[in-house]
Symmetry: C2
Subunit: 344 residues, 2 copies
Amino acid sequence: MKKICKYGTHRVLEPAGALPQAAYKLDNAMDTAPNEIRIDVQSLNIDSASFTQIREEAQGDIEKIKAKILDIVDKRGKMQNPVTGSGGMLIGTVAEIGTALHRTDIKKGDKIATLVSLSLTPLKISEITAIHPDIDRVDVTAQAILFETGIYAKLPEDMPEALALAVLDVAGAPAQTAKLVRPGDSVLILGGGGKSGMLCCNEAMKRVGPTGNVVAVCVLEEDRQRLLSNGLCHHALIADATRPLAVLDKTLEANGGREYDISFNVVNVSNTEMAGILPVRDGGIVYLFSMATSFTQAALGAEGAGKDVTMLVGNGYTKDHAEIALAQLRDNPKLRKLFTERWA
Amino acid sequence: MKKICKYGTHRVLEPAGALPQAAYKLDNAMDTAPNEIRIDVQSLNIDSASFTQIREEAQGDIEKIKAKILDIVDKRGKMQNPVTGSGGMLIGTVAEIGTALHRTDIKKGDKIATLVSLSLTPLKISEITAIHPDIDRVDVTAQAILFETGIYAKLPEDMPEALALAVLDVAGAPAQTAKLVRPGDSVLILGGGGKSGMLCCNEAMKRVGPTGNVVAVCVLEEDRQRLLSNGLCHHALIADATRPLAVLDKTLEANGGREYDISFNVVNVSNTEMAGILPVRDGGIVYLFSMATSFTQAALGAEGAGKDVTMLVGNGYTKDHAEIALAQLRDNPKLRKLFTERWA
């Protein structure tokens, strides 16, 4: 093995000089370098954009989904969807902590969730034991490697594993919402019915205060009802985010005809960039959290429509994001109940 | 033709409901709707990421480049590179102003440059008369349509057309730099030798003041010398932006071992996202201006390395950007000379 590196470049097989996320292929041999942590993996939480793409390609056939996942990991040494480029995260037990690491927060045998993407995590699957397409989860017998800079969270003791996993999977979303939303803001959330969407809604409602307006856009009527009846937004409406002009009309109506201060796009399908851009005022913020986002569609689309908005790439990491995300469920029993019913 | 729309959706042939930039195919019939402007096109300035991709695919063969461009426009009704998704801009003469538009700033016969991307501009090419691969320019006999929201600039009278075109092509870059760079900042510019890079450098030097540090990374030694000898940065160094760890080492050394407050990535090739992310401090800004940027590589790469940075999608449009860009050349004779020598 090459000289060990805190970012894991010693496991990059091709292309040379790349970091693990950008690499086509990683070395997934399970001998552990002194600065690595080896994990006995129990489940993969596939990123929603990735799982949706694979499920559609496999036309919902579970065996084909299995085969596709095994094929990707076999070819790349990591579970990175070649179409979306995204990964997901995993849950498992610490099997070995490299001799050069001095970790006091975890020990061998602890249950952890990784908070870095599967798209840069060396993974070797022995067997896929079950696929849960409704929650994008894949149960496996597998091993994975966490690099020195790879972040993780020890699973909390006050909630079931599956519930913690569902929240940690999208931990960046509520922490970023907390940083950006100001009192009095009008906030548009596209994809409000999903995990990220609900956490964004919940955090936005806390931040905007009595004079703000939080509007969620969903695909399903049951999601719309669920958001409203649980007080997770002021208005919720049904629209297809791949049709930006229709979204523009409906969302402006839900905000008294005014453009929004900020939008969050957490939709898990392609071609929704402009639905989050057109309704935002000049000088406003467009937060792009979907792994199905096209960089050029956002950049050139905003320019083409003459929208002077600040567009942010959703960074899955920000300081204390795991604690902030878990606190959402601890502080809001209704949200916890919703998450438990749907994803745990 | 469908109901006319200020964003140009009446010309979208597929998929339904998409805006012109996201569309696969536009109607490039040259009958002008009441809210459109028709342009007799003189030259296309192909986006650098797009032209680089086409040139490499054609192995530098001019006839193959021509054929590729004609093929793209024939299939899509617009010059949008299917690999990079990007376009460029054009220069031409106003041939017709739709009857519903009341423009006082331009009239039939005026020379204008479009400031919206070719990736959303209906275009019909009769003939490619010349290709200038050194400046990504394609001379054509062609017609194009500008939508109601499509922005443009009348060519200034105090500089040659080709010079104005070279600057307007990347007009967003200096205006965005002006908004983000603060006195005392350390600023890293990847791709400093190109048009965007030089404009970013020039603007950053003005903004950081005496206590800041502007560091440019280039590929060619002649670019490095040119930047330094013209006072466009404090330090310039040679590095391959597709090798982020090598860039990290060299750039930190040029900033006294400290991480940067802000980086601008204006490189025109793929896989350079992490080179702009790793050298930036937690809480710093990463500005992604390259059309070769991968959204997922930026988002998941930053997360994977545990970098708590704010990543911005380069918006080609911001208020007064064309005037701000042209003023750069008017205010700095050395920069104007450099642009004239290389791109005009």
